[in-house]
Symmetry: C2
Subunit: 305 residues, 2 copies
């Protein structure tokens, strides 16, 4: 059976875009439940300024409290060398860096040009290599940007290639605003795969316009086998408050189960992890799979229906 | 530019699954707005018992009040010869019949076996032919059934082939509970296209599990060029109250626009038709495209953001 690898980004990319910040112990329990459900790579926090991202405050403590399990990797987003050092201090063996394919987005989101962000990653990647720590590279705005009309495909390919050349073991291509459609996704993956081995590419799709699952399929058909997702569709879209965020992990597990591809994730356990975090945030799930299966379970409890 | 044909089923399949019934004049205005947005085939009502489907009461009056436009077809669901005669009385030039691929669903939904439903359609199709009225055939439960564990593909193919042989000009394959995933959709379309010309097949996908857009893509890649959808994702799932129903027309227009395929539909006008019916039903849109674009429009009104 063909297998896919899911990278659970709910506890970082998801939670940092929820209005309410969750305490350390809730984040630790969420991650533990996700591990129990079978997820093996989990973004557990971010070493960024709590002034900009209060939801990620206490990431040190979260990662320190997580139980280690063979085969389970906890990663953290690090913006610079200082962030990497904090990640190293709590024992991270993998971190992620975040670049943009759009100059306008880079300026508005991380307050520097694309070239400046790459320059900042150089000492970080050198130090990570020295420490034997794996680095994942995010490229945002790969299929559109909230602040510029178009993102040339060549710009995406350049950032992906540069991050890979600098030592990132995997490049996660992020459709940050969910603007992509499957034809453009397919063309993008082909263009990137000409410069970076397709096995080192991951798809990171947001469902803002309801296209994420179709975009995952397009990337899958082009050979991508690693996808990022958030339990219960945590996160929303920071650029369109009220809109949907990361594709829900439940949707991808349902999809791959249906395709006969293994994810290693147990859907009922995943649904429970989702219900746990939804209750903690007093939010409704953004996962259609979660809603449908919850309603189905409730219905089966009513005997005369 | 490659073109696809959208069949707008919101005013029938959508509205009949909303808890609140809308008055005739609101349904007439909704359909008029959808025509203005560019839709050309619209299911305007159903000639069924108001005891079973109160939401469709007054379908005669709705269709009588609709303005005729060159190239626009208003269709109605008819369960039997009597229903056809009511449709003919108000001038319908196209009707639809509804069969199931699952014996359990047929019994629970239309209270007869599949064979009995087909026998009931025979005089209906003969009369329609005599009158020069086109008949569309729905097959429900093509990728799963809420009342039986599995629906054999051969059963779907048989019902599709029989409806086509009896004179239906188009067979709409309905994933009634939204259980399908793209691999199974692809295999189903291939199996049906071996017996019915692919140009006479339509895809009717529900988004209950968030798979509809991906299933549309799979059917499209197999040559299907006609898809059913509901404005604003009207309808919900009658078997899982609270869950999503028909794929939203907005999602398909966004998808095909992104693929460079023509639908003839103007998305801003469609969004206004959706906002109109959502207000009438005091409901939130089930379309992610509608939500995202509404939030984007609101955001652009705030100058200092």
């Amino acid at each position: 059976m063909d297998a896919v690898r899911l990278v659970e980004v709910g506890p970082r990319d998801g939670l940092q875009n929820e209005p309410q910040a969750l305490p350390v112990e809730v984040r630790v329990e969420l991650i533990a439940r996700l591990v129990d459900a079978g997820l093996r790579t989990l973004e557990a926090g971010a070493f960024v300024s709590p002034r900009w991202v209060p939801q990620m405050q206490g990431s040190d403590e979260v990662i320190r409290q997580l139980e280690t399990h063979p085969g389970v990797t906890y990663t953290a987003l690090v913006p610079n060398l200082q962030g990497l050092e904090r990640a190293l201090a709590v024992g991270c063996r993998e971190v992620a860096v975040f670049a943009a394919a759009s100059e306008a987005f880079s300026q508005r989101n991380i307050n520097c040009s694309i070239a400046e962000s790459m320059a900042r990653f150089e000492p970080l990647l050198a130090k990570a290599k020295e420490e034997g720590v794996a680095v994942r590279g995010y490229v945002s705005c790969v299929l559109g940007c909230p602040f510029s009309s178009e993102v040339p495909r060549a710009d995406v390919v350049k950032v992906a290639r540069d991050l890979y050349a600098m030592g990132c073991y995997e490049i996660s291509l992020g459709d940050t605003v969910g603007l992509g459609t499957p034809g453009k996704t397919r063309e993008l993956i082909r263009a990137c795969a000409a410069e970076v081995p397709v096995a080192a590419l991951a798809g990171h799709f947001h469902d803002t316009y309801g296209m994420a699952v179709a975009n995952v399929m397009a990337a899958l058909e082009e050979g991508v086998r690693t996808f990022d997702s958030s339990v219960s569709g945590l996160g929303g879209c920071p650029y369109l408050p009220g809109a949907t965020g990361n594709v829900a992990t439940e949707e991808l597990v349902y999809l791959f189960d249906g395709l006969g591809m293994s994810t290693g994730v147990n859907l009922p356990a995943l649904l429970q992890a989702g219900a746990f975090v939804d209750a903690a945030l007093s939010r409704l799930s953004a996962s259609r799979v979660a809603i449908a299966l919850r309603n189905k379970a409730q219905r089966s409890l009513r005997p005369n229906d």
